[in-house]
């Protein structure tokens, strides 16, 4: 069988480029359909397509990935509901492994996968059911229950790459310089990371750890609130499902009672009055801010759930965390939703290479 993996990848990339462009028929259609299926606002869809879709990945990066991968007879991909743009990388990684890739799109949000399929001229197959054979690989993106269910039904000899749910955290450390140079852009960047996908991604920041004084914490929160309010004007938060809204109402009502919470657009920033306490808020542009002297200790406590840590003025953090909890995406703020195209987004599960 000929190896046309790169050709297929380039076709997929071309499809993504067309979708990202708001002036192409594919781009127009994507914007129309995705704001229905994802619950994001039209601006939220456009933001994700232009800032988070990884269509700008270069040919050389794709070639390098192919060379790193051991070729297998077939690869299957089971996709979860949005983050819709993640379909591109998920399918691309499978195409790096095999010329025969079968994808089952999310039943709730199949739009992006179908657009990529059509735009790529069928670089992969769409199927409502996956039946990987021995020596093949399957990539599963979904809840822990979905992963367990798939795993239990796999025939022997199928390699499973599972990507479960997770969250991102931001860490900002107070500078000895009282002007806190660079803090404002960093907080703006954190707000941008928060806005993408209305926090529905496994890379989305949900908790913010601050190492520094109470004054520093209040300064960060004030700026974060202002920045998120400004983002609300540019990229309004979309709709939440009834259940998501119920979680949001519960969180907001609780935090108003507990104290130190400020609404920003449709979201909320809550500054915990208690140090060293982590409270994971619901999605929907909600950030829970905790002051701590020991960000590494706290992040280690939630290590299994962490996919990404964005940081400011914490140059030792990535190395220390790598030692403590292993590989994760350790990035600058503003890059939490745009990880390097070097393999799976989620480094917790590893990536089999030859």
């Amino acid at each position: 069988m000929s190896d046309d993996r790169l050709a297929r990848l380039l076709a997929l990339k071309a499809a993504a480029e067309a979708i990202a462009d708001p002036h192409t028929p594919a781009g127009i259609r994507a914007r129309e359909e995705l704001s229905e299926s994802t619950l994001l606002s039209p601006e939220g869809v456009d933001f994700a397509l232009t800032h988070c879709l990884e269509h700008q990945v270069s040919r050389s990066v794709l070639s390098a990935l192919i060379r790193k991968c051991r070729r297998v007879p077939g690869a299957s991909v089971l996709l979860s509901a949005n983050v819709f743009s993640a379909a591109f990388r998920a399918i691309a990684l499978a195409l790096c492994q095999s010329t025969r890739v079968t994808v089952r799109p999310s039943t709730r949000d199949p739009v992006m996968t179908r657009l990529l399929h059509k735009g790529s001229g069928g670089a992969f197959e769409l199927s409502a059911a996956l039946s990987p054979q021995p020596r093949e690989h399957i990539w599963v993106y979904g809840t822990e229950a979905t992963i367990r269910s798939v795993k239990s039904g796999l025939p022997p000899g199928v390699k499973l790459h599972a990507h479960g749910p997770g969250l991102g955290a931001a860490v900002l450390v107070e500078s000895e310089d009282s002007r806190q140079d660079g803090l404002a852009p960093a907080v703006d960047a954190l707000a941008m990371d928060t806005v993408a996908f209305d926090q529905r991604g496994c890379l989305s920041p949900r908790i913010v750890l601050l190492q520094g004084s109470r004054h520093f914490a209040e300064m960060v929160c004030d700026h974060l609130v202002a920045s998120l309010k400004a983002w609300e004007g540019k990229v309004p938060r979309g709709r939440l499902s009834d259940d998501e809204q119920a979680d949001a109402t519960r969180f907001v009502s609780t935090m108003h009672f507990v104290g130190s919470s400020v609404s920003c657009g449709k979201g909320l920033v809550s500054l915990d009055p208690v140090k060293d306490r982590i409270f994971i808020p619901p999605i929907g542009r909600h950030l829970h801010v905790t002051v701590t002297d020991d960000a590494i200790g706290l992040l280690t406590a939630i290590g299994e759930r962490l996919t990404t840590v964005g940081s400011h003025n914490a140059e030792l953090l990535p190395g220390r965390l790598l030692e403590a909890i292993g590989p994760r995406r350790y990035v600058e703020l503003g890059q939490m939703q745009r990880p390097a195209f070097d393999g799976p987004v989620d480094l917790r599960s590893g990536f089999e290479v030859s």
Partner: protein, 394 residues
């Protein structure tokens, strides 16, 4: 506790509200009572308690302001999720005036919440008033035991406190055929028949024999899990009990594996104890509430006392659902004078026939993407890690 009003003048308002509440509760359950023109109603008391909390509880004041409530109607109160009890102290008074601190169940200490109680006597008085009209239904005396772990001297279980209160009021004697001269002890292990090592079946049989000897009813206060364990320990053998034996059944199974659902549990218990299903009465309470509900004559329908109001609300906006629709349970508990009277839980209920039907816990939002579900509190202080910045700190 005697309060020095000079040191804590606000508590004068609280004590006045406690007095008014007890008067209201006593009258409300007395069919012969003729309330005077100045007598309180549920609404008048609720509004005054809410205003008291607005004045002295910063959390309640913030929540009221954020919800744009004017506190002019009970339908206008902010709804405070029970999560607040896990994250902050929910009390109007300073901690030095706590008479008890009840702890919610949770798999770890981090997940537990706390409900400080300033006036235990009010909680007890309300429980007795209600129990007289429900669980004990006019029966003034009986042998009362609990299928529950023994309470500790410094008790932190609100359910344990309720059980001890009912034991004291409706039994109040030593568990002995000749109780004269022997004082009642609320910590007596002979009454707490589900210690850590398993069910005390012989203790249960002893209590049943004592009730038969005294020609009194036997009251068994039990959690669902303990009753299940008892039936398993009995393994089909019956227990001879007085015909008027009553079982109070409370709580779920807290995620523990069980072989029976609640209906099957009730049927099996009725058979084992030789009673009818009508003599198994459900109780619903929670640490965050002072008051509780008991199952009425119609099975599955839990009735609130006059000082507790329950409504089903939509989770998405805390607005009332249409009559008969399921929703989250929103309680206005006048007993929570010193904490927070308007509480919303994650328990789903349906308003029906003058009471509520319990429908289980609300589910979390399904993850639409790969985001982690809303989890709430997951971590507190951990062992110290190294410094993050190589630069010197101020």
């Amino acid at each position: 506790m005697v309060v020095d009003y000079d040191k804590a003048p606000a508590l004068r308002r609280s004590d006045a509200l406690h007095e008014r509440l007890l008067a209201f509760a006593t009258d409300a359950l007395n069919p012969r009572a003729v309330p005077g023109p100045d007598a309180d109603s549920f609404e008048s008391l609720a509004l005054d308690i809410a205003r008291y909390q607005f004045d002295l509880s910063p959390g309640f004041a913030r929540a009221t302001s954020r919800s744009s409530s004017s506190l002019e109607s009970v339908d206008d109160f902010p709804l405070i999720p029970t999560d607040a009890f896990r994250l902050t102290r929910v009390a109007v008074h300073p901690s030095e005036f706590d008479e008890a601190i009840f702890q919610t169940s949770g798999t770890t200490a981090q997940e537990s919440g706390f409900h400080p109680v300033r006036v235990l006597s009010t909680k007890k008085r309300l429980a007795i008033l209600q129990a007289q009209n429900t669980l004990f239904s006019g029966r003034d005396r009986g042998v009362v035991v609990a299928l529950a772990p023994p309470i500790e001297t410094r008790n932190s279980s609100s359910l344990g406190d309720l059980m001890a209160c009912l034991m004291e009021r409706f039994d109040g004697r030593a568990l002995s055929p000749e109780p004269e001269g022997v004082a009642f002890r609320r910590h007596d292990p002979l009454r707490w028949l589900f210690p850590t090592h398993g069910v005390d079946i012989e203790g249960l049989r002893r209590a049943a024999r004592l009730a038969l000897h005294r020609s009194e009813p036997l009251f068994i206060l039990s959690t669902s899990f303990a009753l299940m364990a008892t039936l398993e320990a009995l393994d089909g053998a019956p227990i001879k009990t007085p015909s008027r034996t009553v079982i109070m059944l409370t709580g779920g199974f807290k995620g523990r594996a069980t072989s029976l659902n609640e209906q099957e549990l009730r049927a099996a218990a009725a058979q084992a104890f030789g009673i009818t299903d009508a003599n198994i009465i459900g109780e619903y309470g929670m640490t965050e509430l002072t008051s509780q509900l008991f199952e009425g004559p119609q099975k599955g329908i839990y009735l609130a006392p006059p000082w507790l109001r329950v409504r089903a609300v939509r989770g998405s906006d805390y607005q009332p659902v249409a009559q008969g629709e399921p929703g989250l349970a929103h309680f206005i508990d006048l007993g929570n004078i010193d904490s927070c009277l308007s509480i919303v839980t994650q328990d789903m209920v349906r308003e029906r026939d003058g009471g509520i039907e319990l429908l289980g816990r609300a589910k979390h939002a399904d993850a639409r993407g790969c985001s982690l579900p809303f989890e709430g509190l997951i971590a507190l202080k951990q062992p110290r890690g190294p410094a993050l910045s190589s630069r010197k700190r101020r």
